[in-house]
Symmetry: C2
Subunit: 276 residues, 2 copies
């Protein structure tokens, strides 16, 4: 297995991180999870654009151009012979002395790993509404993809402890924000709706594509709205997953619905997914 | 320089982290910053107790006993000849395959680094109230010391951009929570007050000691309360720092006050600080 670390393609056993890396010590980093289909990173322009927005929010300059990042992702796809699979790109502010204040001239860490795996439709999910923590829609970090994932991890652990496999997170006002690592769509009155970014939803890339392709709308959603939904599904860069129960209660008739199925088809056939 | 990494005392150049460490990839970790005075870790029982509470919140079992952690901290103090200085202990959920859900049997990473430095009183601070982000008092993570520090980093960067050297963070309700890496005390009507933990203040160890020793009280504080304060100061495990201005307006007469000076004395003389 080969990984890309700070400009070099190395075997995974030879790759190692500095113990002073601010990604490790302070969570001072961002990441992107990118599907590979037909040997190509899917929705790459959107992933790179989101990464750039994130770098802007945390105030980190990356020397690599988008073309250089695309080339590095391509190295990993080819070196590991990935026809279908997952890439993960992680950027941190790199090694620095102790203290929260970033160094004036950081030397960012850039890590890309990837592996082949099937991206087939996952089995329908059963979720709980997490009671242990909330998503902070007052932080700009709720809108970018940072490595500060502990709230999502707590929510997912709560779900597992309750026998579910996904968690829905509320924001601090008690509105639905998203799932632990996916966006939430409900179908209400025949139309797909999803919480707005301002409610603490990550600006998901599959979410943005579906908003266009299935004529979905952004709308503030309360937990009680789930009871009005004919179907529900979760979206991430790795696909669309039916959500058939929440807190032990079936959504709609408890089976994947037509809007979900259409979204699953669009996930890998929309021009956004496959353009180079 | 020697560091302690996963049971071994190694030179800093020989120490390296796994690229799959969840501390790096997902911020799945905790830390403690511990002062060293007279060659001993200060307030060690309180630091270890807080670490254990944090491990409980994130659901991570650490094989090392408190005695083992104390021994490891002691190795670093002696190996690096630290009479006065700072230790940092970091625990993460260790290396794991991609995905938010923790592995069933994690192999935690334990890293201890330390170095000699003077813990003398720092110059008075000038702060801003951060406008770019808020602290999430709805998350149990606000009460433990995790490596998810990006909100605090954003707040400090905002302070630096405005020519200040500290940032005060509001919680999602608009009440004062704490500073980027310190607790906040105001002196109002002759009494020291500090935001309660429920308002998003970290359970600071120096904060807890001062609550006892200077007869301070916990009280919800609004930004407007700063205008009523005769003095203000910031506390962390590394000491007590006067806060003489907020958003360009002097606190009290703009100079360190008597309660702050008394707290600075107590910081290193209270029995809590020096007991083994």
């Amino acid at each position: 297995v080969k990984v890309f670390l700070n400009g070099r393609l190395v075997t995974v056993d030879a790759a190692a991180l500095d113990i002073a890396d601010r990604g490790f010590t302070l969570g001072d980093g961002l990441y992107e999870t990118i599907a590979v289909k037909d040997g190509r990173p899917a929705r790459l322009p959107a992933h790179l654009a989101r990464l750039r927005r994130g770098l802007g929010v945390i105030g980190l300059a990356l020397a690599e151009t988008d073309a250089a990042l695309e080339a590095a992702l391509g190295y990993i796809v080819r070196a590991n012979d990935i026809e279908e699979g997952v890439l993960r790109l992680t950027v941190t502010r790199g090694p620095a002395p102790r203290g929260l204040m970033p160094p004036e001239r950081p030397t960012p860490t850039l890590l890309i790993v990837g592996r082949a795996q099937r991206l087939g439709d996952r089995p329908p999910a059963r979720a709980v509404v997490a009671t242990g923590t909330r998503r902070n829609e007052h932080s700009p970090l709720s809108r970018i993809k940072t490595t500060n994932c502990l709230d999502a991890i707590l929510a997912l652990k709560e779900a597992a402890a309750k026998g579910a496999d996904e968690a829905l997170l509320l924001n601090t006002k008690g509105n639905l924000a998203e799932a632990a690592a996916a966006n939430l769509f409900l179908v209400i009155g025949g139309r797909a709706v999803t919480p707005p970014i301002a409610d603490g939803a990550l600006a998901g890339i599959m979410r943005a594509d579906l908003l266009r392709h299935i004529d979905a709308a952004e709308r503030t959603l309360k937990p009680a709205d789930i009871g009005q939904a004919s179907e529900a599904f979760l979206t991430s860069s790795l696909g669309v997953r039916p959500l058939v129960a929440v807190d032990g209660i079936a959504v709609g008739d408890g089976r994947p619905g037509p809007v979900c199925k259409k979204s699953q088809e669009i996930a890998w056939t929309a021009e956004d997914a496959v353009r180079p």
